[in-house]
């Protein structure tokens, strides 16, 4: 990829990728969560599994992302975060997140989602409060960032399913391996 070509806009990006019926996606994810609940019984275990899945997905999505969006390597965490929020979310979920609440060191920030296709129709039953329904998302973020050698911890701070006004996940950069990105697209 010649580094000159400018990065696509989020919308262009979204329209460029192959898309599928969101209902199918939403319902499928929902069904998975439900099945996990019945099989694993422990809510905590379910959260763990969702995060694990997310992580695996993230590790793969990042390649597609870098390949499709002509994003050249991001210099720092801040820029990466913005790219994910503006382009990443848009490209895959068709929604954009906003990045806020940077801490002083610039190693922790929040992704805030008003709209989240993952949770259409979803209503948490009383029996499984404590379930992090969207844990797959945090997993994806973690996995993706790890592929660009940023070790992070992602935690949910706001969840509309719990009656909050938005979805907010807190991303904390724990360790950054400098350079040597395993970019495919340089060759």
């Amino acid at each position: 990829m010649p580094p000159l070509t400018p990065p696509k806009s989020g919308d262009a990006l979204f329209s460029s990728v192959e898309r599928v019926n969101a209902e199918l996606f939403t319902l499928t994810y929902g069904a998975i969560v439900r099945q996990l609940l019945t099989d694993l019984e422990e809510v905590e275990e379910v959260n763990k599994q969702l995060d694990q899945m997310g992580y695996n997905i993230g590790t793969r999505l990042v390649d597609e992302f870098l390949a499709k969006s002509n994003v050249s390597r991001c210099v720092d965490f801040k820029e990466t975060a913005d790219t994910i929020a503006k382009l990443g979310f848009k490209m895959f979920l068709g929604v954009t997140a906003t990045v806020t609440n940077w801490d002083a060191e610039g190693t922790t920030c929040s992704f805030v989602l008003e709209d989240n296709p993952l949770v259409d129709f979803v209503e948490l039953p009383d029996t499984c409060q404590g379930l992090q329904y969207c844990n797959v998302l945090s997993g994806v973020i973690r996995g993706a960032l790890e592929m660009v050698s940023m070790k992070t911890e992602v935690t949910w701070v706001r969840d509309m399913l719990r009656g909050d006004d938005a979805y907010e996940m807190r991303v904390k950069l724990t360790k950054q391996v400098p350079e040597e990105y395993p970019y495919k697209d340089d060759d």
């Binding site: 439900r34 129709f121 209503e123």
Partner: protein, 143 residues
């Protein structure tokens, strides 16, 4: 005014039943709704009728009883919607319109991954949405 709406599963089991009356005839409404299932059976699987309208989802007025009128609707998935009103004359169009909205609400409710098919609908948001639809009944406004 609508005094009661109900969703009845394909085994004729109640999935949702909400009455909107201050009077304490809630139990009576259960009876009314339950009895109306007979009429639905009669209408839907009555061999002698093979009108083109046979498989229309809207079943119309099932029967008037005491001061209620019961309207029925049968989805493609053999789920029955019942609506009980005390209005003296109900416009066909209004009833149809009501059921259309109600159906949409129902579909979203059962799309909740935690809703188990064939089981009671416990969703609060569904309840809320239904009561708005009920309130808007008759008045041409759409929800």
């Amino acid at each position: 005014m609508i005094v009661c709406v109900a969703v009845v599963g394909h085994q004729n089991n109640p999935l949702y039943l909400q009455s909107f009356t201050e009077a304490d005839d809630a139990l009576k409404l259960h009876h009314v709704v339950h009895c109306s299932l007979d009429v639905i059976d009669e209408r839907v699987n009555n061999p002698k009728r093979n009108a083109p309208t046979l498989n229309e989802t809207f079943l119309g007025l099932l029967y008037p009883t005491e001061n209620y009128k019961v309207y029925g609707y049968l989805t493609n998935t053999k789920v029955k919607f019942l609506m009980v009103t005390t209005d003296l004359d109900v416009k066909d169009a209004d009833a149809r319109n009501f059921f259309r909205k109600f159906h949409a609400a129902y579909v979203d409710a059962v799309s909740n991954p935690f809703h188990v098919p064939g089981k009671k609908i416990a969703s609060r948001s569904f309840g809320a949405r239904v009561s708005t639809i009920v309130k808007s009944f008759g008045s041409g406004t759409t929800v």
